[in-house]
């Protein structure tokens, strides 16, 4: 067992592959490097030394770095991790690399819920969070119910999800067009998924929720690994499958909906991150921790690209993730076609 590292603390133990650890460490370093870069970049370039000084509370750039740029970088990291986790959960559940929440319409459903909260209820942050979770759950329920007959696995679920996604997207643009002008302006900036102009006040609650959900998923992950071996094996080895699946769906939808409520539907991170993590670690299933780290790196990189590509114009990060993720999806399909041929 030289490839594994086991940590024990009383009744709890953690077993991790050496490659997984190395990859996770590398991803963490990449995330930190990108984070420093993200703090340097803005309307004017701040040298890394001044950024580090400002983080410690010295120098002229304290407000710019700590109050303006740090929230955005932190949001990209945390939300990227949350999206990666959500993607890994659903790809595990559907046993399909394409069965991620953004492809099957959960993002669009959460966004419908958030729009409902803004236009009808008034839009306090609690209402926003709750109704976007409700929207995501409703979308998940609809896709599940519609694909029950053909089973949870396979392409059919994905295509039904795409159809549900198209309907919800149409519904969303109708709501935005119906809304009053100010609301519509705010909602349109956000409909492509954007981290422009986030600040600490609106991030505290989402960060807490994501942290709690990540903890819950860490606790569920041994069961998830057993479930990946097949239903019969999992049940024999003492996993309560139905309860596990319900909890996983709740946690996954929670992650997606929390991100959507703050930043709008940022698509394709949840699709690509888990698979990238899986490829890097060479794992058998879709492991959660590398997925979260890859998601953080991906979203931060995409957000940097969105700020830098058309320099004076800040693109919505969702545009960048759509292009990257779409190319990735095509690549995935090409590889499958080759393997089958």
């Amino acid at each position: 067992m030289s490839g594994f590292l086991v940590l024990r603390a009383g009744a709890y133990s953690l077993r991790a592959g050496r490659r997984t650890l190395v990859v996770s460490l590398a991803l963490l370093l990449a995330a930190l490097g990108l984070a420093v870069l993200g703090l340097c970049v803005g309307t004017s370039w701040t040298p890394p030394r001044e950024v580090l000084a400002a983080l410690a509370g010295y120098g002229d750039e304290v407000v710019v770095v700590r109050e303006w740029r740090l929230p955005r970088v932190a949001a990209a990291l945390v939300f990227g991790a949350a999206l990666g986790l959500a993607g890994a959960v659903f790809q595990n559940l559907t046993r399909n690399a394409l069965g991620s929440p953004d492809v099957v319409g959960l993002d669009a459903g959460s966004y419908t819920g958030a729009l409902f909260a803004i236009t009808v209820l008034g839009g306090t942050s609690a209402q926003l969070a709750l109704s976007s979770i409700a929207g995501g759950l409703a979308a998940a329920g609809a896709v599940y119910a519609l694909s029950l007959r053909s089973g949870l696995n396979g392409m059919r679920l994905v295509v039904i999800g795409i159809a549900v996604n198209a309907m919800l997207t149409a519904l969303n643009s109708w709501i935005v067009l119906r809304a009053e002008l100010e609301v519509a302006m705010a909602a349109t900036g956000w409909s492509a998924g954007s981290l422009n102009g986030v600040d600490w006040d609106e991030l505290v609650l989402p960060f807490a929720v994501v942290a709690a959900l990540a903890g819950a998923l860490a606790a569920l992950s041994p069961g998830l690994r057993q479930a990946a071996l097949g239903d019969e094996l999992a049940v024999t080895s003492g996993v309560r499958l139905n309860r596990l699946r319900l909890l996983l769906v709740l946690a996954g939808v929670g992650c997606t909906a929390t991100v959507t409520a703050v930043a709008g539907p940022i698509v394709f991170i949840a699709l690509a991150a888990p698979q990238i993590g899986r490829l890097l670690t060479g794992a058998a299933g879709v492991p959660l921790a590398p997925a979260a780290l890859s998601g953080a790196v991906l979203l931060l990189a995409a957000d940097l690209a969105a700020q830098l590509l058309l320099a004076p114009v800040a693109l919505p990060v969702g545009v960048v993730t759509t292009v990257i993720g779409g190319c990735y999806l095509i690549g995935l399909l090409v590889r499958r076609t080759r393997r089958n041929a």
């Binding site: 053909s150 994905v158 198209a166 309907m167 643009s173 109708w174 960048v320 292009v323 399909l333 076609t337």
Partner: protein
């Protein structure tokens, strides 16, 4: 032998199309009574109604009929050719390819005139069609996924380009989401003419296509030219989707709904299917366009929003039908 009701149903569909056209002339921000519309059309009335009907609603209705027929026929041809009930130019990314080409042409300063836009749209449609078919032809569901992925990439890049050059793309604002609004002043002759010619070719290709449905070997044995038929169908589809997209922007799901509806009444015959498609396509698009005008108390919804909302359930239904689509 059972009585063939198809001529009767086709006649009823044509009547329905006429009714939709009349409704499309009457409904809008300024509702008009049919009598007023008639007076404006015959030229005896004056004033606002005359202007609204002649300058706005008649061109818009004609455009709706052309685009509806084009997209419906393109959908039927693609579904028949690929033997895939899920295929449709919008879902397969063909319209997204046409839209992307027009956007890129706008950046390079090429998309000035209508002929240039039409050429660009057709070129983009061809490239997208070939790419998607090469990647996804292994299975019907995979074809859909490839098309969706390609559409996402192309529309993302298009949106980025539009954000980069806001002044150039102000005129593409409505067009880029798929709408018949704001196109009333553009001359109709070129798109309508192209679509008419392509529809005529589609009518001519029905017989060889009917033979092709029996399988490539049988078609060859019956004296059909398999490759020639396929290539000409591809060219027709490209022209139809390109012209419709150049005129009204990317409108998805219409080409999916129409063939499924038409197949219910047409049975297995390709010529009948084509006839029903050409009548029902405009009916559905005009109905969606009327919906687009009344769904908002102020202003309009892009018609592509209405077709997506109405058409996506058809995709779900088609996927769920047991045995219809191998995964």
């Amino acid at each position: 032998m059972k009585t063939d009701y198809r001529p009767v149903v086709l006649a009823a569909s044509v009547v329905l199309l006429l009714a939709m056209a009349v409704a499309s002339l009457c409904v809008g921000a300024q509702a008009l009574a049919p009598a007023g519309v008639w007076r404006a059309l015959t030229g005896s009335g004056g004033g606002d109604a005359y202007l609204i009907v002649r300058e706005v609603r008649v061109p818009r209705t004609i455009l709706g009929i052309c685009v509806g027929a084009a997209l419906g026929t393109a959908g039927t041809l693609v579904q028949t050719l690929t033997r895939n009930p899920l295929a449709e130019p919008g879902i397969l990314g063909v319209t997204a390819g046409a839209g992307f080409a027009i956007n890129v042409g706008g950046v390079l300063g090429l998309a000035g005139g209508q002929p240039a836009q039409l050429a660009l749209a057709s070129l983009g449609a061809v490239l997208a069609a070939v790419l998607v078919y090469a990647l996804g032809s292994a299975a019907p569901l995979r074809l859909v996924l490839t098309g969706v992925a390609l559409s996402a990439v192309l529309s993302g890049i298009s949106l980025g380009l539009r954000l980069m050059l806001p002044d150039v793309f102000d005129r593409f604002r409505f067009w880029s989401v798929g709408s018949l609004a704001g196109q009333e002043q553009a001359p109709l002759a070129l798109p309508a003419g192209t679509i008419a010619v392509a529809l005529l070719c589609a009518a001519l290709v029905t017989r060889p296509l009917n033979a092709l449905m029996l399988g490539d070997e049988v078609a060859r044995a019956l004296g059909g030219h398999v490759l020639r038929t396929r290539v000409s169908v591809l060219v027709i589809v490209t022209l139809l989707a390109g012209a419709a997209t150049a005129a009204a922007g990317p409108i998805a799901f219409l080409g999916l709904m129409v063939p499924h509806l038409a197949r219910r009444v047409a049975g297995g015959s390709i010529p009948w299917l084509m006839a029903f498609t050409m009548v029902l396509g405009p009916v559905l698009l005009l109905a969606s366009d009327i919906g687009a005008r009344v769904l908002l108390p102020t202003g309009e919804v892009p018609v592509a929003v209405v077709t997506a909302f109405a058409g996506a359930p058809v995709l779900i239904w088609a996927v769920r039908r047991r045995g219809a689509v191998p995964a």
